[in-house]
Symmetry: C2
Subunit: 233 residues, 2 copies
DNA sequence: TTATGACCAAAAATATATTTACGGTCATAT
DNA sequence: ATATGACCGTAAATATATTTTTGGTCATAA
């Protein structure tokens, strides 16, 4: 049966509270009691909605993935050049940069993810979340949005390197020496377009179609995962 | 007075032994006694050549920087396209990839650098070693080896991001999923050339001249640093 | 002179005991 | 039916004592 609106609302409140605290203090240093307090309910109530602290965290991650993907697609749709490689990547990077949780997942942030990373059963611990897969580049290539002569595996990996650099570079250098994110993302997107887009400018419409396809696939998988995660009452 | 050849030779032996052990076990888990044994001399003899374990490590790092820089220049000289951005960067990446110590310094590897990193007085702890500086891009731009319309600060940073990705990506993903280094470096250099080199192909000779200039500057600074590090007997 | 390795103080690692904090439950209240 | 928070066992953090390792020295040997 579908979930009543007020329950949904309360779960959202809990997840909001959890998001704030987890991002700020990390998984280990955020207690369930803390989350309850932040959400303005009792500790017991949390367990009426989530099986465990870990399940709560995973529900949060799934929600974040959904909004990450949705945000990405929305940006791509709104951007005339959203179907070109540069346009697509610009929007991925913006979405990634705007989501501390996705960024943490992508860079396997030990501080934020804490014990969740150490748990071998953690479903979302896998290292591929938020990353560019070469199958996508392949499709974009077939759609004429990426130069034919390039190796999709290499291209995808380079894009992942840049995404990693965007979120992790502050670990090896003084943040004051890092250019403003906005300008950096523009620079990267510009680089991508110059180097990877076909000379004719690429077929942005076809590129968007591919992205939509990928998006609905991903959305389905996420929905299934959410469904599966809810078998507990 | 200049150092006798046999002393120089022995110091090289010590540094060789130290390099092997430090790279393998890291700074913390390599003892001075270990180094002495590996070098085939007594522990006391080490202290005839180096003030402390840390001074030894720094001497090793300086030697490595010198050979790193020399290797880089040699590669650039040998490469007809060595003066273009792509050519230059290809050779930097090869040099970086070939030197575990430089890579560790660049990525601030806590395992390898260990306590050396924690010491606030460590001269070479600074985060800029091995990295691309925007002044260099500036010069290359003036020499006509890089497109005029690009922002040197952004370009330099993107290059650093890619170098970081090259040496650090294995921390967030399964090494089996990382493309072969050789192919990856080629892909990156190719990307650089496509995106950053002027349409006319760039002035490789002028680029090389700039690199030589930078090299001799750096060499001088390193020599001074080595000199300064030797005021102890 | 130059090199050695036993030696030392100090730090790091290990072991043990003790306290605190936390995830999760459930009798009770609303 | 839903929500609460006192409660419980355990795991993590802290404190303490004990052992081992290590960077560095120096009297002695070559």
């Amino acid at each position: 049966m579908p979930k009543p609106a007020d329950v949904e609302q309360r779960e959202a409140r809990i997840l909001d509270a959890a998001a704030t605290l987890f991002v700020h203090y990390g998984f280990d240093k955020t207690s369930v009691a803390d989350i309850a307090r932040e959400a303005g309910i009792s500790k017991g109530a949390i367990y009426l909605h989530f099986e465990s602290k870990e399940a709560l965290f995973e529900a949060l991650l799934l929600r974040e993935m959904q909004s990450y993907a949705a945000e990405w697609l929305a940006r791509v749709e709104a951007d005339p050049a959203g179907g070109t490689l540069g346009g697509m990547y610009r929007n991925v990077l913006h979405a990634l940069n705007a989501s501390p949780l996705m960024a943490a997942l992508f860079k396997q942030d030990r501080r934020l993810l804490g014990a969740y990373l150490r748990n071998p059963q953690a479903a979302l611990r896998s290292r591929t979340h938020g990353s560019m897969r070469h199958e996508l580049i392949d499709l974009l290539q077939q759609a004429g949005a990426v130069r034919q002569e390039l190796d999709p595996v290499i291209v995808a990996h380079i894009m992942n390197m840049l995404a990693y650099g965007l979120v992790a570079m502050d670990e090896i250098m003084d943040p004051a020496d890092i250019p403003p994110t906005e300008a950096l993302i523009e620079g990267i997107a510009d680089l991508m377009d110059r180097a990877l887009t076909p000379p004719d400018g690429g077929d942005s419409a076809a590129g968007k179609a591919v992205l939509q396809q990928i998006y609905s696939q991903a959305r389905q998988q996420l929905a299934d995962a959410v469904q599966k995660g809810q078998n507990h009452d």
